[in-house]
Symmetry: C2
């Protein structure tokens, strides 16, 4: 017998080891919390914490009464941290720069109006460039609902980006985020300083305050951008 397991991390590691070693193969039902607690000589709450964490990571499936089993198809869960663009640039050791390109109040295109459920009210439209050193880093194309965030009407967004201003002034209750790839059209190519047709990584986000949409933004990253995380 090796040294005893004392912490929930210890229990988690041991369970992970057994899964990995195929002691408990994919799909297998593992002992219940009380039994494991007895085996490891810890409280049930400790085992619970360990198994719950593994379940959140997608390695286990748990159901009341049915018990805990090893996930058949462990869906990899990638947690991406999406910081403010300024911090993202600074984390790469580059100097951050910002340039507002346009600020208008206009009727958004149909797809935006539909997504934001704003009907045919005009919205605030901001287009801005984020720089890393001298090179364009990302292009921000944003629509803001001034009906919800009235203060945005008084903000020029020349020195502070909408990206950061909204974080400080418009908390959201929930949102949706999407990732895709698109070919650069002429305006994006000109603004990002790349060839027309270049493949751009796009992040789009729609945020809500309860039932009302606050803002919808698309971030076009300069060619070659890669977003990464551990598993």
């Amino acid at each position: 017998m090796t040294e005893a397991i004392r912490t929930w991390q210890g229990v988690m590691e041991e369970v992970r080891r057994r899964i990995h070693a195929r002691d408990w193969p994919p799909g297998a039902l593992i002992p219940n919390e009380a039994d494991l607690a007895a085996e490891f000589g810890v409280a049930r709450a400790t085992v619970n914490r360990a198994l719950r964490t593994l379940a959140e990571a997608g390695l286990l499936d748990r159901r009341r009464k049915a018990g805990t089993r090893v996930a058949l198809q462990p869906v990899a869960k990638a947690t991406l941290d999406i910081p403010v663009l300024r911090l993202e640039v600074e984390a790469r050791g580059k100097e951050y720069g910002y340039r507002r390109l346009a600020r208008t109040e206009a009727l958004p295109p149909d797809d935006i109006a539909t997504a934001m459920q704003t009907g045919d009210t005009p919205l605030l439209h901001i287009r801005a460039l984020h720089l890393a050193g001298d090179a364009p880093y990302a292009l921000e194309d944003r629509w803001i609902n001034p009906g919800v965030i009235a203060a945005a009407r008084d903000e020029p967004f020349t020195r502070i980006s909408a990206n950061e201003w909204l974080l400080a002034h418009a908390p959201y209750t929930h949102g949706e985020i999407g990732f895709s790839a698109t070919n650069a059209r002429a305006p994006e190519a000109a603004e990002l300083g790349c060839a027309t047709g270049s493949a751009l990584f796009v992040l789009d986000r729609l945020t809500w305050d309860h039932a009302r949409t606050i803002t919808r933004v698309a971030i076009f990253y300069a060619p070659g951008h890669r977003m990464r995380t551990g598993l």
Copy 2:
């Protein structure tokens, strides 16, 4: 006084409400666990669970002795579920199809060899197409280290994709995942049935078994693919 808070979810909601209502503005130090527990009439462990969950979500910053404060720049954490391609297709209500395009044992290009740290040993190379209905859904380009997964040498991968086979036969301890965009070169365009130069969304993954690399894969999604999640 409204109804009492009983559960950790209840505490979490109330804390979230106070942050959102600016009772506790960004950067503010909030009361300690013991005080909150007394205020809400619950045990400290309950408050701890609530605050810990909010901290994991990026809404709070916690440090021992220093206390808990509202995050200044709430880094949005997007958790992406990356299921097996077959399930991804089936979840869209389409019929899944699979076609192996190539299977060779060869020396990988330099960047792959470097990433996998396999020196100049030959690796198993699989290229396969995943279909949704009749349309190409994604192209899989995979390198497998047979030094770690010897059984892969005996598997033709004609009926079952490497994507699924590895999940069942090669558990990993950790990995890295990346997202980017790239222009389709001639082979990808031909295999995916799209124009050369189309912007493709690419997911790449490198998995390890302790210190040894198992496999590195790139998934090229057909044009227009969008990966989405809530916030």
